[in-house]
Point group: D2
Amino acid sequence: MDTHKKAGRRPVKPYENNRARMLISCPDGPGIVAAVSHFLHLHGANIVQSDQYTMDPEGGMFFMRIEFDMENLEDKLVSLKEDFLVIADKFQMKWDIHQLSYKKKLAIFVSKEDHCLVELLWQWQAGDLDAEISMVVSNHPDMKEYVESFGIPYHHIPVTADTKAEAEQRQLDLVNGQVDLIVLARYMQIVSPALIEPYRNRIINIHHSFLPAFVGGKPYAQAYERGVKIIGATAHYVTEQLDGGPIIEQDVQRVSHRDNVNELKRIGRTIERVVLARAVKWHIEDRILVHQNKTVVFN
Amino acid sequence: MDTHKKAGRRPVKPYENNRARMLISCPDGPGIVAAVSHFLHLHGANIVQSDQYTMDPEGGMFFMRIEFDMENLEDKLVSLKEDFLVIADKFQMKWDIHQLSYKKKLAIFVSKEDHCLVELLWQWQAGDLDAEISMVVSNHPDMKEYVESFGIPYHHIPVTADTKAEAEQRQLDLVNGQVDLIVLARYMQIVSPALIEPYRNRIINIHHSFLPAFVGGKPYAQAYERGVKIIGATAHYVTEQLDGGPIIEQDVQRVSHRDNVNELKRIGRTIERVVLARAVKWHIEDRILVHQNKTVVFN
Amino acid sequence: MDTHKKAGRRPVKPYENNRARMLISCPDGPGIVAAVSHFLHLHGANIVQSDQYTMDPEGGMFFMRIEFDMENLEDKLVSLKEDFLVIADKFQMKWDIHQLSYKKKLAIFVSKEDHCLVELLWQWQAGDLDAEISMVVSNHPDMKEYVESFGIPYHHIPVTADTKAEAEQRQLDLVNGQVDLIVLARYMQIVSPALIEPYRNRIINIHHSFLPAFVGGKPYAQAYERGVKIIGATAHYVTEQLDGGPIIEQDVQRVSHRDNVNELKRIGRTIERVVLARAVKWHIEDRILVHQNKTVVFN
Amino acid sequence: MDTHKKAGRRPVKPYENNRARMLISCPDGPGIVAAVSHFLHLHGANIVQSDQYTMDPEGGMFFMRIEFDMENLEDKLVSLKEDFLVIADKFQMKWDIHQLSYKKKLAIFVSKEDHCLVELLWQWQAGDLDAEISMVVSNHPDMKEYVESFGIPYHHIPVTADTKAEAEQRQLDLVNGQVDLIVLARYMQIVSPALIEPYRNRIINIHHSFLPAFVGGKPYAQAYERGVKIIGATAHYVTEQLDGGPIIEQDVQRVSHRDNVNELKRIGRTIERVVLARAVKWHIEDRILVHQNKTVVFN
């Protein structure tokens, strides 16, 4: 673990200054790919990678992700976006362009279980999560020393029945406008609707079951009780409906009658941290589009 | 496909005449393994393989599977079982001994979807399912010619709202006492309690979802609607509770936003047939013990 | 298994008459996506799905697969291809356009082991392999009756040391110009270079190991000897180098010390047939591009 | 991460004082299970779990693992072992008994890549690796501060062409007789035969490929070059033959043409650390028996 990496930030690689990613969702119709790629070509962009998918060709939805290089991107970006409005309007697009030189800012929420947090910090430090970790927020003080050893601010905000409203306000004050993505890394409190609303499709939770099986509390105990032969974990965007938001990623592992609840938890921890880290990575890399309650993941 | 294999039966290999499998469940206590293995040794048996598992050591349940060789097994089996009663009583055992020379008799129930049936017949013909397929029962006539080309009797018993009671009685008359195991190979009717009772833990169903997710009808449509990233199938023993019986085996496969309901069904068919065939094989090989609503699978 | 499906052919669905797939490989450069999509738009095509990938952005290779709808495609296809030559020349493209209404013609080569053939025929009959199976060629007579029951011609061409040259000539005469793809479904003879040359990247073989482990003969015996904990199978295009051609697909399954060589073979058979069927399906659906000794698979 | 866990040690749970595991390998013959279980019963032991496997019943090898409880085990262990010699001699057994109250002592060897070390330390701290980590040995100083923060001694022993012999001697002096297991957690030097000999089947290495594919250096570059669709990692005991020792565990993950060598490395890191940790856990829990160049793993 190189100490020179410690600071919550990630360096910008030279090629990233001139590279961007474009995400588009719109009703399908003829000529969208042509219009977008022609537009980019006229503006001097070179498409490095593109993925496109149409859900139900006739009368369906169109989704696209384009990664492109453009010289002096920084200078041109504002006018590029302005110019694109004509096309965006014509096809009723929801769209965005993300520069790779801008590192998304993350807040990680955690309670007492540390495995997901440790994984995210390790992957971030190894350079696999290309984002800035702006802060860690917890309702417990346990991880303070560990987190701060990475140079990342740690905010301990206790949550009790009495202080819940106040605690949620403090959380909101901390993150709102300051971070681009909130990661619930086994944060065991229900998140306030006041936080969900401004962070629609920007709060990722890890649920420790293969959703929709075992919604709610104590999923490993439920799984043991039901005698399943495979357990899993699910990363999803948080909505007002408990464990009901758009699923980003799932993975599983085989278990047997020999595994009691504690073994299921132990095995589950590895699935949880891998699945959560994968979902966070995909979000950071602008690989996820949400439509209604589902995700399109270009990976 | 060798025509000489066609007849619903499987040949007995020479070593199988002198080999048997013993299954034991009982409350745990000291000396069970010693008592059983000492008993077998005294009776001239050589243990080829044994698996033992105690659920929760203190005050829990003891499960054991022993495969052993014994010269002139056929002649000795009755007295062996009689002699064992002393040990069985002492430890309050549920137990059984199965000779490998006896091939379990199967009835396969099927409706219109043929993939699970085709898989079972192919595996049976390849020698991978070491059982006798005594009959195929269906509420549709579609597979008659195909099944009979294997020399296996095909019973077409239509089921309508009016004839349901009568149809169930015909099914019961056909199988009861004639077969050891009933396999529901995508049989789309609810099985009568009159059949479940005598075939407790001897009816295997394949459910086309990763239970307990998507209980009931149209699981692939439910899975598509929920946007899951992995689909699965579950083989379980049939109980009076729909899709609620002891789970024997599950498996899964990754899917993506590109897969519509029909693709999910197509991918699911391969999971279903593999999972069902595995569960049937384990049952045939006496690898499954049921305790309360869970299975212990020694594989 | 519906008898009305028997004939080696697949029906054309209405929407397929106006749909085509385009495959492009060329050196990367600016404006390719724009040029192609603009061209298609001008000719009245609507892009249903597109995938694009650039291997090593700077000075690398560009790969693209586009699926599009075009009214009266049949009438326009010749001129569409002619018009495209300007763009193809400019970017030095290797390219092709495949109409979905044309069903690729397959020859399946098989020896004595039937599992891969049975799988392909079952998937084809279930409508999952959208191609025409023109013939089955075998060096053994065993599967003749089974294959012909599907209405598919079966050619028994024995291969001995003495008759090898003659047998290969007969094979070549049978397939050359008559089929689009040759599938070696556990065909245990080395294929003649005279066949490989005209069918470059159009002969798919299934190797019963996780290549490049266990190249050559008896891979399961090799795997058992080495004590591996996972076995696999590999589908690849056939080249002059034994088991050395471009890999299309691989899959694996966990095994244990309990599995002897016969068990490995049994487990392996399911991997083999699934992997081969997947590779054949992707080839049929024009999802595979070959560059040097590797595949780009858009799936 | 609880600071009170920091010290390299693991606490002994009360039930562990009276629990032990017995491992047996011997030529197969009648009465072994009976003799062993009868012996244990006579000595007041209660068998909690037992696994037995006979490789090739006739004239093969017998392997057994028994976990048992015995009151006042500490006091009785010496005489228990002495008494067992009669049985052990009779059946020509290789055998051992391990008390659970004794925590195996580990030395972890590491070079610059830290992911396997971080995983082992995290799992150890989470209580999932029930051993004592006595020391970390490295040819680089990089991880010193991190390792020492756990209270674990860190020995920096540089290895150069000139100092190789001396360095190996220093390693040998450090570990010999002091540790029970050496874990090569991406240690990039060839281990000295002088170390292998006394630690036969007690040095675990993680090889970053799915052995026997890609033996030797730069396996991810080799895998990329060959265009495989799945990559893997292999944990094995170290022998004098490079990457040729008995395989303990393997696992894999799917990759695609989009993954360049760096992506393969990134994906591979997660497989490596999971596979290595699993193998170490099984060794610690006495689940592995080695016969010739293969492992029997009772898990």
